[in-house]
Structure formats: structure tokens, C-alpha cells
Symmetry: C2
Subunit: 234 residues, 2 copies
């Protein structure tokens, strides 16, 4: 494989640990008032509801912020999980946890190594401002922030990947899409991008249902971002 | 003045020294073959021709890369300056100097200080890929890259500043536009942005015609980016 010139990273799940971040924030906010609620289950359902909402988003039109999507689907999730008595203000505050996602331990050191040889940028469905907030708190050394918001549609719409290639001034074959979600890197592969799969067994917490199987159709399968750096010679 | 949350920086001239970078590259490429050519004059005229070309660019439509604009106007500039015998390949290579602009000495340390308290991002008329290339070589620690290319029109079109505000998720009054060019920060000011003027007396080389007068209508007038950091309490 010819080496890529730039690497594009998914953010929620691939470079950050949303599950533990949001679970911890929920536990902090609930402060023992909801001992029967399984917050891990809440977060897993919340994330699934977010994906369903994105799937049903209009294919083009006024941009709907991802923060507003998370907030909008939260009420139904809390109802499903019998997490009652959580005020609107507390729900707003809980939603802010998605702006403060903690990186996986390998993310900053791995990106720092990769940045010496490649352009490293985000390609996230989260809003630009959310990706900036997360990255700034986590001190992630991106060369650029690209987000679905800049294309007006969400991944896996081809327009999102093409937007990043245009802004990078590169051909798809010169760019590697890196994600822990196979639908994401396969969408990029269909456009000619190189692909790297990052296994994130804890994406949905301990015992969560997650597909971490390596696949032959990816250019790289990696245990984490430091492993990706090593495989790319950094 | 309430403190801003984010600072947007012009790149060519404000954070980077295009004059000495491009002059040095021209001198290197010509390798003594053109002893009579005043390269400082060539670069000053080249930059002026670029501005004229941007002024005459269609207000909306297919994006024209800034690199291609620099290349297209170069032939006439070299003719004006009687810099003959420079091959097409050499002209292409000389144009690449605009991708390698060196930062002013205060840029990286000043940005590093400002980044501790504010979101720091570019807002450049140069292509996204050019801003990334320059920033990566110069190790400028941006939180985000915004460029006119993302709005499809050049500064000082209001759409460029509004694009950045939208992506930052901030109101204009929460954002400070920082530039050494008064037309740029005044265009932002008309939309409600805060403003910082950076004096760059050497923007067009020693003795170059440049307006470095401080003005009362700017929120901050600064000698360089470290001075801006100091005035903003960093």
C-alpha cells in the first residue's frame, strides 16, 4: 500500500470514550438520587437513538446541530429506562457531556506520532464547535477540523468524505479514513479512500455489544491509535 | 470590553512573513542568474496583483484556488520587472513558496499563550490546504482552520466571517478578528466582531509602504501577537 498523505479520524467512539464520559456525568448529576437506573444502559440507548435520528435526518437542508439531536432524543431514553425526576435543566447539563468527551488513553500520544508524518484531521458528525470543544479539552493536536456540518449532511453520505478531500487538496487514494465503525470506513472506501479500523472493545462499556473483528477489506486493522502509528511507520 | 471567546487570525501577512519567504525562495531559484532583478519589488507587485485578482473574482461560483491565482498573475509581474528567462517549471516552483510561508517570530509563542484562554483559529483567503501546509511547517497550534474556501467567497465578503461564527457556534461579539490589514478587521467589525490590529511594519520588506498606525476604532492595537496575548491577559 502506498502511504497516505492525510488521515481523517472519526471522533465520537474512535478517538473519544463517550460511554464512560457520559456515564460518569450522569452519575455525578444524579448524585445517588436514582440508584436503580442503569446509566450504562441509558447511554447505550441514548447513542442508538442519536443514530436513528441521524438516519432520519433530511438529506439536505437546514443543519440540525448534533447537540440538539442528543437533547431532543434524551427524554424518550430516560422514560424507557424509568429515570424519572430529572429536571429539564439537569437534562440540558447532561447533554453537555457530549461536548466534553474524554479521549482514549492512546489518542493524544498516537496522534502526536502520526502528526510527524501525516496531516491528521477530524471527520466527525458532531458539530464543528463540539469537535473544537472536545479537542481543546483533550489537547488533541489536529492539523484541521472537518465535520459533517461543513457538508450539510451526515456521514456516511459521500458528500462528507468528498468535502474533506477537496479541502485537503488530495485525491481519495491519498487519504485514510480511520474509525471504529465499519459503516464509516466502508463508505469512504467506496469513494477510493484508504481505510483503517480501530478496535474499541469498550465503546459501549464493559460487556457492551461491539464489533471489533478485524477484516481483510481494510488497509489497516489496529488495536488503537498508537498501534496505527506503528503500522504506518511512525 | 468583555473578553472574546475565540480569536480568528488572518494568515498571509498577519501571522506569516510572506515577503521574506518569497524573496528568499526567488533568490534561491534564480541562483544569481538575474542580478538586476529587485525581488522585493517582484514580491510586492505579485502580492498587489493577487489582491487585484481577488477583487475581480466572481462573487460566487466555482472556487478558484489561491495558489492558481498566484500562479496566473505571476507571468505579468515578471514581465513588468524584466525578470526574463525564468522557465515555467521555475515559476511553478516559485509559486509553491506561498505554501511555505514562515511565521513571524512572535506567532507561535503568542498563539501558544492565547490558546490557553481562547479558541484560536485561522480565517484566511488562502486555500484550506495551503493554510494547513503553512501551519504544519510552522507548527502553529490552531484549534481550527477556517478559510474563505469554506464560504465560497473571499474576505472581506461578510459571508466569510459569518461562516466562521456559525462553525464556532458563537455570536460575532464573542469573536475577535485579528489582522494586520485594516480592511479585514473593519469588515468583521461591521458585523459586530471585536477587532485587533497587529502592526507588521516589515510586511512588504524594509522600507515597504505599509500602514501600521494604531486606530481608536479597533478594540486592541498590538505590536505583535505576544503583545496581543499580554493585552488579553495571557
Amino acid at each position: 500500500m502506498a502511504k497516505p498523505k492525510a488521515l481523517l479520524f472519526d471522533v465520537q467512539g474512535t478517538t473519544t470514550d463517550f460511554h464512560s464520559t457520559v456515564c460518569e456525568e450522569a452519575a455525578r448529576l444524579s448524585a445517588g438520587r436514582h440508584p436503580d437506573v442503569d446509566w450504562s444502559d441509558v447511554v447505550t440507548r441514548w447513542r442508538a437513538s442519536y443514530f436513528t435520528a441521524l438516519d432520519n435526518a433530511p438529506s439536505k437542508g437546514a443543519w440540525v446541530s448534533v447537540s440538539s439531536v442528543y437533547r431532543r432524543v434524551l427524554d424518550a431514553v430516560l422514560d424507557e429506562c424509568a429515570a424519572t425526576g430529572i429536571s429539564a435543566a439537569e437534562r440540558d447539563e447532561l447533554t453537555l457531556a457530549w461536548q466534553r468527551l474524554k479521549p482514549w488513553p492512546d489518542t493524544a500520544p498516537g496522534l502526536t506520532r502520526l502528526k510527524t508524518a501525516f496531516t491528521v484531521a477530524t471527520l466527525s458528525n458532531a458539530d464543528v464547535s463540539t469537535v473544537i470543544n472536545i479537542s481543546k479539552r483533550a489537547q488533541l493536536p489536529w492539523d484541521a477540523i472537518f465535520a459533517a456540518e461543513m457538508a450539510g449532511v451526515f456521514k456516511p453520505d459521500p458528500a462528507v468524505y468528498r468535502m474533506a478531500a477537496t479541502y485537503l487538496g488530495l485525491q481519495p487514494a491519498e487519504i485514510m479514513m480511520v474509525a471504529s465503525h465499519k459503516y464509516d470506513i466502508r463508505a469512504a472506501a467506496r469513494l477510493g479512500f484508504r481505510t483503517a479500523f480501530i478496535a474499541r472493545p469498550l465503546e459501549f462499556g464493559v460487556g457492551g455489544a461491539v464489533d471489533v473483528a478485524y477484516e481483510d477489506d481494510f488497509d489497516v486493522n489496529a488495536a488503537d491509535i498508537c498501534d496505527l502509528a506503528a503500522q504506518l511507520g511512525c
